[in-house]
Symmetry: C2
Subunit: 239 residues, 2 copies
């Protein structure tokens, strides 16, 4: 009963070409940009009439890379260091029935003169490049904002951001200033899994056309970007 088939109305395009590095919730990296490109059937500027009255939007989307074959009631939130389990409905885990994600993003502008129909430019995204979008709704502060709501287990580690340092060589990359700030804020969230914080390991993260290498010092609370390589002909990690 009530089983139904849904289809994407749009696809979200972001700089996140892989799961590693994606902010754990929307809004955590305000600069992280996304472009919502509608599917041909929905490429109609009328469908967006008045949307610029709003500063924020809700996106209902699909976790396209996390397929759940069988219902598993318990998950392991990264916040809890991979040590404790919580019920899937008490978390935002991607491993959930129906695989649906929910994000509030900032609406920056709508671009109308594109061959791909109207494009909504947003920021504060936490979605993989190519994520299917099933619905877009205006954010209504009077109904959706509950500043005093509890953050549950997420409250504990809320401010655990780290200090990001650029090694001189990394700074010499041809990364533009906006991307540099975005990458810095992504890394400040410490994208490493709580159970995998090896001191001298060189981590690699992709953002947009860039392959970013970094080392972390958990004790000092720092992440140092050691190398940045631009991938002109598609993406390939530095060795």
């Amino acid at each position: 009963m009530y089983e139904k088939t849904i289809e994407p109305v749009a696809i979200m395009h972001t700089g996140f070409g892989e799961k590693f590095g994606i902010p754990r919730q929307s809004g955590l990296v305000p600069e992280a940009a996304g472009q919502i490109i509608f599917e041909p059937k929905y490429r109609n500027p009328d469908a967006l009439r008045g949307i610029e009255e709003f500063t924020h939007l809700w996106i209902i989307w699909g976790f396209s890379e996390n397929r759940v074959e069988k219902f598993t009631p318990l998950v392991t939130p990264p916040r809890l260091g991979g040590r404790e389990k919580r019920g899937v409905f008490a978390t935002r885990s991607p491993f959930r029935p129906n695989g649906m994600g929910l994000s509030s993003v900032r609406l920056d502008k709508v671009e109308y003169k594109s061959s791909k129909g109207p494009i909504i430019h947003v920021s504060g995204v936490d979605m993989l490049d190519g994520t299917p979008i099933y619905d877009i709704k205006p954010y209504l502060a009077y109904a959706d904002s509950h500043p005093k709501a509890s953050d549950g287990f997420a409250a504990e580690h809320r401010w655990d951001t780290v200090h990001v340092i650029w090694r001189d060589e990394a700074l010499k990359s041809c990364m533009d200033e906006d991307t540099r700030i975005t990458v810095e804020h992504i890394l400040a969230q410490d994208p490493r899994a709580a159970y995998n914080k090896t001191k001298d390991y060189i981590y690699g993260m992709r953002y947009g056309r860039f392959d970013i290498r970094f080392v972390a010092d958990s004790h000092a609370g720092t992440i140092e970007i050691v190398d940045v390589v631009e991938c002109v002909d598609g993406y390939h990690k530095v060795k």
Copy 2:
């Protein structure tokens, strides 16, 4: 591509047996209660472990009574008096692709000792009785609350509540105090369509087991409840 089939994880039970009277957004009538009863496959207390750490939940649900056969990019928000059109993605209209609703509700308690598996008691609902629920997520104030977000066209009529009066006869009904308060707050939102505010018309609204009759005086800004009938053997409107 990315078309997918989703199935309800639970069904929302509310006092709203018909569309008329349902608050226009979640939270507008804080007392309006709902019980989330899981589908047999998902009746597992583990799936809720830790959920009581949160004060609010997100519900992703389906507009079960509004089927959209063909994509219509423009809708007529009730707020705008049925006079102006807006793009469907600039509204919370039920007539939308994929027919998905989004509500934030208050989490009151979880009832574990039920023959129907764990039941989540919530309030501030804006859903029809029997609404299919596709996902439940904790509300995270740090990520979801944007108190300064704009309300767009919804801002204009934000405070248009009316004064509710009980006629003596109506007060004599066997409605309990909690239900009475809830009904009063539902009517204070003025459930009438903006384009259908006839002065001497007797409107009927169902809430729970009750059939509530009221008249409205738009000039005075009042709604008067003239009659309440309890429907013991199922619902039937008074003549």
